[in-house]
Amino acid sequence: MYDIVVIGAGVSGCAIARELSRYDASVLVVDREEDVCCGTSKANSAIVHAGFDAAEGSLMAQMNVRGNRMMDDLARDLDIPFKRNGAFVVCIDETQRDGLNALLARGEKNGVEGLRIVEKEELHRMEPNLSDDAVCALYAPSSGIICPFRLTIAMAECAAQNGVEFRFNTRVDALLRNAEGNWHLTTSTGPIVTRYVINAAGVYSADFHNRVSTKQLHIVPRRGDYCLLDREAGTHVSHTIFPQPTAMGKGILVTPTIHGNLMVGPTAIDIDNLEATATTAEGIDTLIAGASAYVKDLPIRKVITSFAGLRAHEDGHEFVLGEPEDAPHFIDCAGIESPGLTSAPAIGEYIGNLMKEKMSLREKSGWNGIRKDVLKPVGIDIEKRNALIKENPAYGTIICRCETISEGEIIDAIRRPLGARSLDGIKRRTRAGMGRCQAGFCSPRVMEILHRELDLPMDEITKSGRQSVMVFGQTKAGGGVIR
């Protein structure tokens, strides 16, 4: 029996797991996918929001501002890149100025530091590729960019190194509380018993909540399409450029990513299918038109991929954190949509404190919050790099030419705790396959390494788990070695 089971290994679930790993408690994280960060956490704007947008006094505002403040230390401890590149909410019309002032006032009340209105001349000097129509903007210097995969993976690895267990490919089908007050979970990989359940199931969080509480939650999957542009376009803007927010969200932004690409998106389309992450032609057209209103000469021909994610939009647009009155020992972490990524460290802390109190948890000795990322040879000086290659020649072989990723990094990503088991797993840990050729060059090579390292038959190697196999067996004559 576990003390706590967390359902969902997204950014919230992993942040909670890392916080819980501080305590003397047996903790298990389950996820239906083959890896962490496979749902909402993998397809979003990758922004560490400043916090001027969330309603004053809301839990969302509180978590956003706190999460933003925690990010520098966390990124340092977890050895992941994070940059405060600053954001502009841009007005292209004087009539929008009142809205901007309201946003400024709300931000200040939320405790966001450094906010100010920037007028036209300074604005265009700071961001030359803004539309000529831009008249003024709210400047938020504390806004930042981060890699959502790295953040989630790093928190999960840190949790794992401190004793948290993870079980993947495990779908929770039913949960019942027995007479002793323990939860019995029926899952696709067998039964699990636990004292507490934490519901961090993303777009499925309402579904789990509604099975145990009469106070129903309603979550709509709100789809967002994105385009990711080549690194050649990565300096088109240096800040994150927002339009003014609406009831549907923060609007279509244009931003550099932490890895130097340019990203445009998202759309905001409410749908009824919790799995429908397909992009549509209309969606892509909408975001190109939307972004072009604020940023001129958008180099949209430099698109290298497009994707869509689902936000778990709760009707009240508020994070639902805590124990429902009628469902003891069931802790919600539901309705986590933007600014969920930013808020994750704060949500982890909040739930961690809550559990500490409820279960009278004691901090364990020897907890280690430091985690090292996959060793990246790019950027280290030539002598050190050659010493590294001499020690481990795999660092001398480049597997992904677009992102300059060596075999050594890929092997590291496979062998570390919660290591990669699929092409996407490798991609999210190392960026191999994330570049302009979109894995055309490296995928056969990465498959070969997965085959060798994990002793996986070639026809069982997947893009992203389940049935996403890459090949269907050998060719007729003289085929490759499957096993």
Partner: protein, 422 residues
């Protein structure tokens, strides 16, 4: 690391021919840097025949064609390093590369020949809507999986794009027992060679759907099906024409992109149409002593032309190292201009006194022309007027001018290549 006078970046057909030619032209200090484990480049996975008709007057497979050059490179004792990735080319021609045994090393070269080839345009760059499952491969990646690795990337196949690799893979997958349902092509004409349409599609009853494109991809894990629609004259899908093809694989053959990241970082000027460097008559880029040939320069249809170009690039690189080249004089430069249907020319500029006896100008057109003329003007004077039954974007065209024609034209500033109806 030993220094070399000429560094050849890439050991495919362009790099091999350039190395041989440089050596034959008198430069003994040549090294080929190749990222794959063997020389030969993409030819190694092109196991079909049809290579070398121009060069060897016989039909060879890709590996056989490559072997003829590899054998000569070995005989000539030209140095090469495989499994070696070039990381950087500095404007002063310092080449930084890396491999398992030497680690990261630099070579201070006098001349560099860019011969990195090209890559395929991926699904993402096409903005095809839908899901992002496994089973979407560029045709060349699928070709590598089948021909080099020996694995089947799929069983029920739809192909988007009628580039040559896509057409070749339609036949190859059929040979291996897969079912190729159709090849959809956005344009109203094929992007590949006529002979490949006949030999790879028609002979196996694989339909070619011109003016069609993929408008949706279904499948969360592995491809489950693709939806294909007809497009209008602006290449926009026509509502109501969608047809769903249940399949497990989508192969893409929608264009090749010269692979010029290293060239760009070195500061080499790029041609806006080809995606390769702009070069002069000596295949020299805007950086003195940096030459380019093969698919990194412009995408070819036949490897014979790659080899021929590379021979000249290699010889010019050797001449440059040996100090046999007069410095470029801006006032003597003749611009070569493509217009009226011709999309670009290689070379972009010519200096007569650096020319051999002949000037070969290669180009491609942007649409299909029937019974039209390829015309060349020296200034205002038309000197070539060649009737062709078909001129198509999928096939590279060339015109050859004699040096005397150019020198006879005093004060010549511009050569124009154009397509005329009469």
């Amino acid at each position: 690391m030993k220094d070399y006078e000429i560094v050849i970046v890439g050991g495919g057909p362009a790099g091999l021919a350039a190395a041989l030619s440089a050596k034959e032209a008198g430069c003994d200090s040549v090294v080929i840097l190749e990222r794959d484990s063997v020389l030969g480049g993409i030819l190694n996975q092109c196991i079909h025949n049809g290579f070398g008709l121009h060069t060897f007057k016989e039909e060879l497979t890709g590996p056989e064609y490559a072997a003829r050059y590899i054998d000569r490179v070995l005989e000539a004792g030209i140095d090469y390093k495989t499994d070696t990735m070039v990381m950087d080319i500095a404007p002063d021609k310092t080449v930084t590369a890396m491999n398992r045994t030497d680690g990261m090393f630099t070579i201070h070269a006098k001349a560099v020949v860019l011969a990195m080839g090209c890559r395929e345009r991926p699904r993402g760059a096409l903005n095809i809507p839908g899901y992002r499952p496994a089973g979407i491969y560029s045709a060349g990646t699928a070709q590598r999986l089948v021909n080099i690795e020996g694995f089947m990337p799929g069983r029920e196949v739809v192909i988007l794009g009628s580039g040559d690799i896509g057409l070749i893979m339609a036949r190859r997958m059929t040979f291996e027992g897969a079912h190729v349902q159709c090849v959809a092509e956005l344009m109203p004409y094929s992007g590949g060679l006529k002979r490949n349409i006949v030999q790879c599609l028609n002979d196996y009853d694989i339909p070619l759907l011109l003016s069609h494109t993929v408008v949706d991809i279904d499948g969360k894990d592995r491809v489950r099906g693709v939806t294909i629609a007809e497009v209008d004259e602006k290449n926009k899908p026509i509502p109501g024409t969608e047809v769903c093809y249940p399949c497990d694989t989508l192969l893409l053959s929608t264009g090749l992109i010269p692979e010029n990241e290293l060239s760009r970082e070195a500061g080499v000027e790029m041609h806006p149409v080809t995606g390769g460097p702009t070069v002069n008559e000596s295949f020299e880029t805007s950086l003195e002593g940096v030459f380019a040939c093969g698919n990194v320069l412009h995408v070819h249809d036949l490897v014979d032309y790659v080899s021929e170009e590379a021979v000249r690039a290699g010889a010019h690189a050797a001449a440059y190292c040996l100090g046999n080249v007069r410095a470029s004089r801006k006032e003597d430069t003749i611009t070569v201009r493509a217009t009226g249907g011709a999309r670009y020319t290689v070379p972009s500029t010519v200096q007569c006194d650096r020319l051999g006896d002949l000037l070969t100008i290669r180009f491609r057109v942007g649409a299909v022309y029937k019974d039209a003329y390829v015309s060349v003007y020296l200034g205002d004077e038309r000197v070539t007027h060649l009737k062709k039954r078909v001129i198509a974007p999928g096939e590279m065209e060339q015109v050859i001018l004699k040096k005397e024609q150019l020198t006879a034209h005093e004060g010549l500033k511009e050569i124009t290549v154009t397509i005329e109806n009469e």
